[in-house]
């Protein structure tokens, strides 16, 4: 079992003929994801890799292929428009990989996403993967293995680092979700925690946060109230200075708010086991799950 994506995910790739889009489309196809369509305006009628049909519009692609998930690899200046298009075409799950979308664009996209009842993951995220079933985005498939630990993270390579630790130690994952490092994102920790809590295939949850904002604090409160499964947490940026944007547009301590201490304190209050180092994830999970999870 898993959250958000699985064997039934029929994926459409927006920007499939671009450099990034083409590279990752191939990777996803190789992994076994059902990539059913691509969209690049003006290239409708072509076939990607000789077999994935390319359409001019998302609406066309949905009509002809029944795609139910879209992943976006278009440049930042067109990315908000791509989200609007996917949602407008009735796609229920839209994953936006693109980094560098103006926050103002996202503030106009989100009411549209919500009023259409769609889910957006990202932007500026690595996407998500249900190991062995469906990879949507750019998380390297080879570092993942199926299992019963759900992982949610604001980061990209730090996620890989942690997933890699899990896999190397025989701890498989139900689904790994990168929610993205921007200030405004479509799916937050709480959305993923709720889904993992409800997913019978998930036994424990790993939560990788970072400085900036209050998402982790609210997530911790949610864990305390609603999550009965064990949760292990990490916060990156304990040594980050105040007021500086640490790469991610969202990783910035404003005044005294959004610090690592504040977030770790919230974790502690909520009974979330704290990883001091990425490698700690293995020991903490093994302690909480025992041998059971090692399947």
């Amino acid at each position: 079992m898993s959250i958000f994506v699985d064997r039934n995910t029929r994926l459409l790739v927006q920007g499939i003929t671009g450099r990034e889009g083409a590279f990752h489309a191939r990777q996803m196809i190789e992994y076994g994801t059902a990539v059913v369509a691509g969209v690049t305006p003006g290239k409708g009628g072509q076939k990607f890799e000789g077999r994935v049909p390319v359409f001019n519009t998302v609406a066309d692609a949905v009509r002809h292929t029944g795609a139910n998930c879209a992943v976006i690899y278009v440049p930042p200046m067109a990315a908000a428009g791509a989200i609007f298009e996917a949602v407008d075409a009735g796609i229920p799950l839209v994953v936006c990989i693109t980094e560098g979308i103006p926050v103002m664009h996202m503030s106009r996209v989100m009411p549209f996403v919500r009023s259409h009842g769609a889910r957006l993951i990202g932007p500026n995220c690595p996407g998500l993967i249900t190991p062995g079933e469906s990879k949507v985005g750019i998380i390297p498939g080879n570092i993942c293995t199926p299992g019963r630990v759900g992982l949610v993270s604001r980061s990209g390579t730090l996620t890989y680092e942690v997933v890699n630790q899990l896999t190397r130690n025989g701890i498989g994952q139900s689904t790994c979700v990168g929610i993205g490092g921007d200030p405004i994102i479509g799916t937050d920790f709480i959305d993923c925690l709720r889904a993992f809590q409800e997913d019978p295939g998930t036994e424990a949850i790993v939560m990788i946060g970072e400085i900036g904002g209050t998402d982790e604090q609210r997530a911790a409160a949610f864990v305390k109230e609603r999550v009965t499964k064990p949760v292990v947490g990490f916060i990156a940026g304990q040594t980050a200075p105040k007021g500086r944007r640490m790469g991610h547009a969202g990783a910035i301590i404003s005044g005294s708010s959004g610090t690592a201490e504040e977030k770790l304190g919230a974790f502690e209050t909520a009974g979330v086991d704290i990883m001091r180092r990425p490698v700690d994830v293995v020991a903490l999970l093994e302690k909480r799950l025992g041998a059971l999870s090692k399947r």
Binding site: M104, F112, S155, G247, A251, R276
Partner: protein, 379 residues
């Protein structure tokens, strides 16, 4: 990107927000001339991207033109928090009846621009927020509808009793919202918003931060960037498309990905070291980027050892290895380098490094412990 006060004022003025006349000067005589034009009694304000200008002596009241010259002479060229003052703003000294705060910020939680308004203006608004949060009125604007007339009026009523002042404030809110959305701001602030004894409502000081992601669309705003107001190595990194922040430690860090870069810094600290910087070379990193990264880090004399921590996903670790080899060929790196890489094309990368006698680790913890040790020895 932070704008200087004088730049922020220009954007507000274009939007029609009432302000006192004023101008920016690069030399004391220019400042004196402006002061004369404004009638002599002026305030001279240092234009640097640093808080606490006033306490540092960067803001001074001049009672006449001669004093204006004196103050400008003092302030121009002074250092505030390591930054040199190259420009001063000269504005008339206003008679003030009341001081309010007016801020508009892109709020991550409400996913919308949020007004923060307080009749307790002029001081540090974060202090007000911390001690007397009830004195701040917050209002989220749905960006699909924009600031609605009744919302602007409601904010105006939260500041003033006099209806003319309420209307004037409401108009300023609308203008500020226009500045905010029209320029891709993440923050637009008027502090203080004052009333004069005659009842006029005026913006006295302005602060604007532009979302860096907007600059691609708005090259005219990018031109406002003042490189001299930045850490030189940070300016160099920005021009090389690297995400870099200078810190005080001695362990240089080159990492791919912002989260992993922060986690690496944290781990350096965990093992008793001090990171010298944050540096994210990004996803699809070419050898070129690695060379630039090494150049920037090695200009810092405090750096005693350098750590590469690369988790290859999109990033090809062989690209990084090639960059390291090429860099050490181009210039001599005098401090030890510890390389950790894993993932895409890992074995190819190791081959490349071994050819020039370098080695690589695959475990992050081990690599960090090693680099901290090396830095300690060299210190």
């Amino acid at each position: 990107m932070n704008l200087h006060e004088y730049q922020a004022r220009a954007l507000l003025k274009t939007a029609g927000i009432p302000m006192l006349d004023g101008d920016v000067a690069s030399t004391p005589t220019e400042a004196e001339a402006i002061a004369r034009r404004l009638g002599g009694k002026v305030v001279i304000k240092a234009q640097v991207h640093a808080g606490g200008r006033g306490k540092a002596g960067g803001v001074k009241l001049a009672r006449n033109t001669a004093e204006a010259l004196d103050h400008a002479t003092q302030i121009l060229g002074m250092q505030i928090k390591g930054l040199t003052v190259n420009k001063v703003l000269v504005v008339p000294a206003a008679d003030i009846a009341t001081e309010s705060y007016l801020g508009l910020v892109m709020d991550r939680e409400s996913q919308a621009p949020v007004f923060m308004v307080s009749s307790a203006g002029g001081v540090d608004i974060e202090e007000v927020a911390a001690k007397t949060p009830e004195k701040i009125v917050r209002l989220a604007v749905d960006p699909t509808y924009g600031l609605l007339p009744h919302q602007a009026l409601t904010l105006g009523f939260s500041l003033y009793r006099d209806f003319n002042q309420v209307k004037a404030a409401a108009r300023i809110m609308e203008q500020l919202y226009g500045v905010f959305t029209g320029n891709g701001c993440s923050l637009a602030e008027i502090n203080p918003l004052v009333t004069t004894p005659a009842g006029q409502v005026l913006a006295l000081d302005a602060k604007i931060v532009i979302d860096d992601n907007e600059l691609f669309w708005r090259p005219e705003l990018g031109l406002m960037r003042d490189d001299s107001a930045e850490e030189p190595s940070e300016a160099a990194a920005r021009r090389a498309n690297l995400s870099f922040i200078k810190l005080e430690g001695n362990v240089g860090c080159v990492v791919n990905g912002a989260g992993l870069a922060m986690a690496t810094m944290d781990l350096v600290k965990y093992y008793g070291g001090e990171p010298a910087n944050f540096l994210d070379i990004g996803g699809s990193s070419s050898p070129e980027k690695v060379i630039n990264a090494l150049k920037i880090i090695t200009t810092d004399p405090r750096v005693r050892a350098i750590l590469f921590n690369i988790f290859g996903g999109i990033t090809r670790t062989d690209d990084v290895a090639n960059g390291i080899v090429e860099a050490t060929r181009q210039f001599k790196v005098k401090v030890p380098i510890v390389i950790r890489l894993t993932g895409t094309n890992e074995s190819e990368a190791i081959r490349i490094l071994e050819k020039v006698g370098m080695t690589a680790l695959s475990d992050m913890d081990e690599a960090v412990q090693r680099v901290v040790q090396l830095a300690r020895k060299a210190a």
